[in-house]
Symmetry: D2
Subunit: 295 residues, 4 copies
């Protein structure tokens, strides 16, 4: 999908409007149709609220049909049969196309148990999650009753839709769907930002292999030129952020032990709020370090 | 070898003295013979100094013979042919009997390159090292000239001997051959020592598998009942010390995020001084932590 | 009073026993008399418990008489008329003989308001307090009813007595009446204890002048040879502990700014548990520092 | 002086230009006259550089005359006789009109010793200093020879002029004459910025009284709405920044001791670079805190 401007969506014919937004909600163009009546929208927030209201006001059968229109997670048959372009990109973004055998089996179990209990697929907004947290979330949700899970499914579907709207529609306002993960290395031995430190962010996985998220180097301000994760939700999950001090102190003529007391410093932490700003700084000398959840 | 008291060694006949100390220096009873003249010794330090003086005063050929009396490291033929009981225990202590293929090959290369250049085996006091640091030490030593390496070999042989003497001879004084690695967990959220934290110390390895050194739990003082490593040299090398906070804070009614920001906290550091006391404490809240090389 | 051994007190005649312990409870030898029946005591704890039991079991009039046998705090008339030697030393220890005018007036008000309400003097174990905390304690206690204050007065009297017993009677066991305040300076710039740092402990006062408690220098272990406060209760109150870095880092060739970012580092904290061990360490580089309540 | 735009100064007649800039260099309109030839200036930086070049290129006698045109610091006779409006404001900004007796005497000594040695007044750009650092700077400079001090005086005069230009002339570019002092309070007990903490910044003085610089409260981001010092040089000197935790933790239901271990937290530090950005954050729990020179 190429991006559309909100003003074009406000100005175009109803059919074009519906066509443009048909897959915001998976295979459910009726939502765009109902929202069309609210045009013109003052911003993308108003547009999304109108679509969400259409879902909230829909009859129970229609809401169940919307839920059932979604594919199973990481399901090879579904993938072969054809997901929407959007579903495909979303599932790939979290690595559901590259699962380990153990993960693949775990996802199969999840899909089957959930569908067996509720009669509809297990739906989660995968862009807000890691593979581990999808499986963990499932453990929390399976014991729920059908009413709760119907509601939860709709909420997840709206989260998916919000990200699709944010991606598709250009507007002066933005939906609050993006988070940020940043770092900062302060050399408290010299009282200055630490430049030139290689930094590596890895998503940890219990059943599969850990996955490199990004690799970068601190700039003269001790920060990274781009946030470690930005412009998208920060997936819920466990991470390891490693700072490779290597010869940083030795290069500055600082006496260290041989081998140096500190070389690679791993910080292991979890993300719980995908839309928040999580700042994880490092204060470091050759003999000590500290970190904290900053903001 | 069963332990002997220094007073017995001072009182017994010369033959018994030499027999008791014959293998302090590998297959070289002449050292004990020469030291015997110095009896009675005021302490184990004086005894060891006398043996060391015998080595230092020996003719060059004898010193080379002493060096050549040592086995190659991790050499299967030597092992089959029979190491001294002491060599065997020492090599096993550092895991030289359980090498990965890559490590085994690396040790072969080390032995062969070194022997090819110097005509005698590569000797290092393995109880003061990890597998990685033995290989790293080799890289530093191979470029040396023969005189330097003869001297270095004698120094390592004396370190081996000192540990054997410390193990064998009971005396009021002790040789300074033991180090200590300790930790302490302070919960700065409640201002109290953190009790009940599972702690795991792993020796990191580049070519082989990382090896669990010890697993323990903090006591009511936030310390461990026994040092993580004590009563022996702390092997030079890289380590990861992991603190498993798990439900520590949740159990105390502290609000945390879901999943908790901190769960398992790894501290990665190197040991450079086997005979020193290295203290690696953790100051921790649910949202921050700090460590430093203490004493 | 010169110190007595518990064995002598167990062995001597009853009159000597009572004479020796007559002033453990202010002007109230009847308590020692009643406790005498319990001889021989296995330890000083048993002796003190017997005296405390005598107080607890005494008739209400006798308990009130015990309370009334105590002098007003910092009262010049009482001082002129003669306190027991013990009361005098105790009041001087907390500086009640060197009050500022504002403090003197505050103590007068305290004594008078309290006596007016309850008909007996305001009693507090002054060795466990600073001047500020005595006044603060009074604010908490004045609103109480008579029964509560009778009980509180007895408790304070027993604390006074415990300190007098601890001072007077030598025994293998000790009463738990002593606390400790200690510090430790760790130079995390060099990864070593910081030796030679001048340290000054001052008791802060709101109405009077702040009072120097001790001035010392860190030793090679970064600690002080003696605890900052030890062998006695650590008085409840507010303190400022100042570390004079001065030229510490410059002397070690460490580049600093001019003037240096850190020179004198004050830590301001309160003591709340006089019998506990409070450890207040400093982790410091030329550009950062940290402290925490340790143990 | 009311502010002028650079474009007006570029466009006006030469006499008006000189009149407007006559006192940028104390009583020395010749500097503006010489700089006038360089019009039009692309920015205020170019304007200032032209004036500075006029000073650098001036004959030695003229440079000495410029130096001698400056008043003594804190000199009552000079003040009565009339300083330029600019000098007056500058001297008052650093409190030279409100000196303690000891400070007044110290400044007299400084002026007299310096003038006796060099034959011209002791000049320093007071807006970049505290009273203490002016006196400290003098101790460093008095031993210098005349050539060095002539040069130093010219440098200080140029710093004074730069601040006057920055104040007087509006332009798209700015001279780099301003620094910033900021803080940030992070509550690492809850993992959130600490809002509502009263903060007080005091300039410390050895001879006079310490002087309150600002008093403010942290906002919801744990920062202060305005920098502690901003829009001007941060005067070289010693400061104490006090954070009044008071009931911050108790109000949030956090168990603390009675009295709380931490109440008022003073950070004492020095400023050495008036044009830099000095960030002094506080990481705090009820039982620990840390600070560092940030950026």
């Amino acid at each position: 999908m190429s991006q559309k401007s909100l003003s074009d969506l406000n100005a175009c014919g109803k059919d074009d409007f519906v066509a443009a937004l048909a897959n915001i909600f998976e295979y459910s163009p009726w939502i765009a149709e109902r929202a069309a009546a609210g045009r013109p929208f003052a911003g993308v927030t108003a547009l999304f609220d109108a679509m969400k209201a259409a879902v909230d006001d829909a009859a129970p059968e229609l809401r169940i049909a919307l839920i059932k229109a979604h594919p199973d997670l990481a399901n090879k048959t579904h993938r072969a049969a054809g997901l929407t372009e959007e579903s495909n990109a979303e599932q790939n973004s979290v690595g559901l196309d590259r699962l380990s055998d153990a993960e693949y089996e775990a996802f199969e179990r999840v899909n089957n148990s959930y569908r067996a209990k509720f009669g509809f697929p297990y739906i989660v907004c995968v862009r807000r999650h890691t593979r581990d947290s999808i499986l963990r979330d499932f453990e929390h949700r399976l014991p729920n009753d059908a009413a709760t899970e119907t509601q939860k499914s709709i909420e997840e579907i709206c989260r998916i839709a919000a990200l699709r709207v944010d991606h598709l529609v250009a507007s002066d306002d933005r939906l609050k769907v993006q988070g940020r993960l940043s770092t900062h290395v302060l050399d408290t031995h010299s009282g200055r930002p630490a430049a030139g430190i290689a930094v590596e962010l890895v998503e940890l996985s219990e059943l599969g292999v850990s996955r490199l998220v990004t690799r970068t180097v601190t700039n003269s301000d001790g920060r990274t030129d781009q946030p470690l994760i930005g412009g998208r939700p920060v997936p819920i999950g466990r991470y390891e952020l490693t700072f490779k001090l290597g010869s940083y102190f030795a290069d500055r003529g600082v006496p260290t032990s041989d081998p140096p007391f500190l070389d690679q410093i791993p910080l292991r932490f979890s993300v719980s709020n995908p839309e928040g700003h999580l700042h994880v700084p490092l204060l470091v000398t050759p003999w000590s370090y500290a970190t904290y959840r900053g903001s």
